[in-house]
Subunit: 534 residues, 2 copies
């Protein structure tokens, strides 16, 4: 057996990635020397100070949502090359400030943008609704010719992908421009951002804060507008938490509404535990809707058997919603900014004429314990096995999600245990179903976390996001839910240990809709966002 | 422990049921003496000969489909009482010819019909789209105040149900009139019709033939128009096979499109094997569509957490379909009538301008083996346990579905086996998904069985229906399918052992649509039925 020098491979990988950033887009040492996981600096400030972006580039990357940007391209006011260049450049800068990219393929993006411009010039029309739209991808999504290391040292020996993820193909067919992939934590099973290959991704609001995870790189990039929209994934909160921590809208759709095929593998075939899903992260709820509509209207089930063949249905806009509010689990009390944020939202929604009903939820710990038994039923534990393949120990951040903290001492994986878990999920779902029906609510407004962004490594267990993953299982006979995160800014963050450290970070909450009511929940989110803005 | 005299309880149960048939509706001994599982008589002929029905009652029960009948009621040309009376009377007669009813509540039906007529007279409108429509229910569906014995001797000690199945409630809210429940085989896990409480249900086309099962009583009643539409259930073919055997249209929707709650229990909580679903049986594909649309538009998920919150979406009618044809598995060749029926349908569809593509399927035995492992993973085997509770042995008919015939000798239920089954299903699904995509088909036309109706106890294993149940699982990441049965009459049945015995019985095939494409598949069925009628 040949001895592998991992440290050397890691260095080569990082150097190769960074070499793909053109010289003129590199930040001076005066800036980069202030970038570290300990720094209290804001990447927004450092980006301003660096002043590498032209006014036009700032306009392109800051002024629009997806509909606005694609409209400018479709009208000919902006070219695909201009847009791709602006976002590649800004993504490179954001990366240097937050360490958020894993793979860079700006050259392919610009080539693609040139082709789109030629098509537009020749045909006088766009090739689809996302013509020229740059989209970032979480590292797990394959792009032909690029790597999907997931930050695993052992994966550094893997060849480049020979396929592109089905969802990315669908977006490309709609006109999207792929230009980079984004960082994740080791195993993806924690709301942090560290792995041994790429290191730690930082929160643009304050570098010493975590951007959340596991879709950490997406959060940092979209948060600081190196990207306008991107794809994360969520098995326990991995879209919603990073959206919360960086002031974004994130959407965890019902499992299998989006196509899953074409990713780096993290579970053995036959895996029966909590089910993951991809989900978009963006700056407005309208962008989430547009993303979901565009992908589903492309009928992904005709390419990928994982996608459920449920057509997109445009719901009628409801001017007056019935909104359940679950303000906290008393055993895991939220911190003052979250409490204020939820109370303020409820008050504003009531004032806007919506019906707001207080809802009592089953204990969150009950969901956590079931979820952890369900994760622990998997004796292969492929995510940690892949780490061990490269000689890696589990990262310290994973401690918070250690199932043993929640399991009975006599827990043992078995068929009987698996059936007992199913039965417990069934009961938990029935309890939620009853609450939901009796309150007659359209959506549930609740915390997404005890606080919001916290210092690196301190996020802790996902008490407020995992219940919804647990309920969104594909067992039959149950209520299930989808989740998304709605942002409210709260300027004074007296959080759990050191209020000054988290001051100025965004705070938000979750909106939860009934399983398969993706369209209606997005509609409700738009209505609620509008009311809160007023 | 008190000794229970089962024979006496059974006699009492049957007598109590039959006493609910009014004297004037009872058939003379000259007719009933010719009713037995050995008789070659046709119940159609016997019904004619008995001549108990008035011309008006024959018109009401024979002339219409659901839309036609409810239109007559809605226009005031027929009263709900007239309609309920005609169907109660005919159901009583059909029962005496086929032994198809388990519970009779004609009195409640007529009371309800009177109330509906009063409402109509007072309000000048119907209470819903099914105002006055009589609907039969498979015995497992609870109706408050009635029994759900499922033909289990031990259930004779159970009290009457204290709830009504959610689907039945929804139908009642739409105006339906419930009047009786229908017979099933012991355990429901076989395409036959015998249990120790109620005995054997007979095929109206020829009494010595099986009506199929497990929705056997529905098939006999709807087949001979004691009912115009009814609800069966399907875990391995239990809606489709009886529809095939009695010349009906039956629809096995995607699992959990219809609400499941409010039934006699046949599986322990946490059951993870093949998933069952309810499904309508009727005389036209339009009736199936109307049934599905009415139930789903009532938003069953607001009453029952088992129902998926997927709104009904009306598909655009496709004038030209792409139809895959899988004519048979060479290891389980179909009998000449089925082969002729499928060939004739394909030819007619081609002539009508549809694109017909031959499709090669994976071996059916592969699906059967996986399905049987999946059933065998359930060590509780509640269906047989319930039989044993009443001192019953498994009925002989169950031999055909004995999992041991398909299991490896070293099969043992375990968590690892459960995961291996999931993985095998995944692969099987991927194989079908590839076939489906490559052929680009709207629906698949294939056998529902090697033959059609056969003598009692001779149906054998469900080689042609179980693959689709296996694929319609709620694991994520797979193609899944729904099924329905389309009828073609074939007058000369040279079947496997004695052609004369099965001569004149209906023959049919399955149309299979992609999972969750219920609406599109029903639309395609209507288009295909129209083309075949022409």
């Amino acid at each position: 057996m040949v001895e592998v020098n991992w440290a050397e491979l890691i260095q080569k990988k990082r150097a190769a990635r960074d070499a793909l950033i053109p010289e003129p887009w590199r930040l001076p040492t005066s800036i980069t020397s202030r970038v570290s996981p300990e720094s209290t600096a804001s990447a927004f400030d450092l980006l301003d100070e660096a002043a590498l972006l032209t006014d036009k580039e700032r306009e392109i990357t800051e002024k629009y949502d997806v509909a606005g940007l694609t409209a400018k391209i479709a009208s000919g006011e902006l070219s695909s090359v201009e847009v791709a260049t602006a976002f590649c450049k800004r993504a490179a800068i954001v990366h240097q400030l937050t360490n958020s990219l894993t793979e860079i393929f700006f050259d392919k993006a610009l080539e693609r943008a040139r082709w789109l411009d030629e098509y537009f010039a020749k045909e006088g029309k766009t090739i689809g609704p996302f013509h020229g739209l740059p989209i970032t991808l979480k590292d797990m999504l394959h792009v032909k010719g690029e790597y999907s290391t997931l930050g695993y040292v052992g994966h550094l020996r893997y060849p480049a992908a020979d396929e592109t993820a089905v969802i990315a193909e669908i977006l490309q067919n709609a006109g999207a421009v792929l230009y980079c992939k984004t960082n994740v934590p080791q195993t993806l099973f924690v709301c942090e951002s560290f792995n041994n290959v790429f290191g730690r991704t930082l929160n643009p609001y304050r570098l010493c804060l975590s951007p959340g995870g596991s879709s950490a790189g997406e959060a940092a990039q979209i948060g600081l507008r190196g990207s306008i929209i991107g794809i994360g994934s969520d098995i326990a909160g991995s879209v919603r938490v990073p959206a919360l921590c960086t002031g974004l809208y994130g959407f965890k759709p019902t499992v299998n509404r989006l196509p899953w095929a074409g990713q780096a593998v993290l579970a053995d075939k036959g895996w029966q535990g909590v089910q993951p899903t991809l989900g978009p992260m963006a700056h407005t709820p309208q962008d989430l809707t547009l993303f979901m509509r565009t992908v589903i209207q492309a009928e992904p089930w005709r390419r990928d058997a994982t996608a459920l063949a449920i057509p997109w249905h445009e719901p009628a806009k409801k001017d007056k919603l019935t909104i359940g509010v679950w303000s906290q689990d008393p055993d895991f009390p939220v911190f003052p900014p979250v409490a204020r944020c939820i109370a303020a939202a409820a008050e504003k929604l009531r004032a806007a004429g919506h019906t707001v009903k207080t809802v009592q939820a089953p204990p969150t710990l009950r969901a956590m314990k079931i979820a952890m038994r369900w994760f622990a039923i998997d004796q292969v534990n492929l995510p940690l096995k892949l780490a061990a393949d490269g000689g890696e120990e589990p990262i310290a951040d994973l401690d918070a999600m250690d199932p043993r903290k929640f399991l009975d001492p006599d827990f043992a994986p078995s068929l009987a245990e698996n059936i007992a878990i199913s039965a417990d999920i069934h009961d938990y779902r029935e309890d939620w179903g009853k609450i939901w029906r009796e309150a007659g609510i359209d959506v549930l407004l609740c915390p997404a976390s005890r606080g919001s962004a916290v210092p690196h490594g301190e996020f802790g267990p996902l008490m407020y996001t995992i219940p919804w993953n647990l309920l969104d299982v594909c067992f039959p006979s149950h209520p299930c839910y989808l989740n998304l995160l709605l942002l409210l800014l709260d300027s004074s963050q007296e959080q759990y240990h050191d209020a000054t450290i988290v001051d100025g970070a965004p705070t938000g909450f979750q909106l939860v809709g009934w399983r398969f009511q993706d369209e209606q929940t997005l509609m409700a989110t738009e209505v609620i966002a509008e009311a809160l803005k007023a």
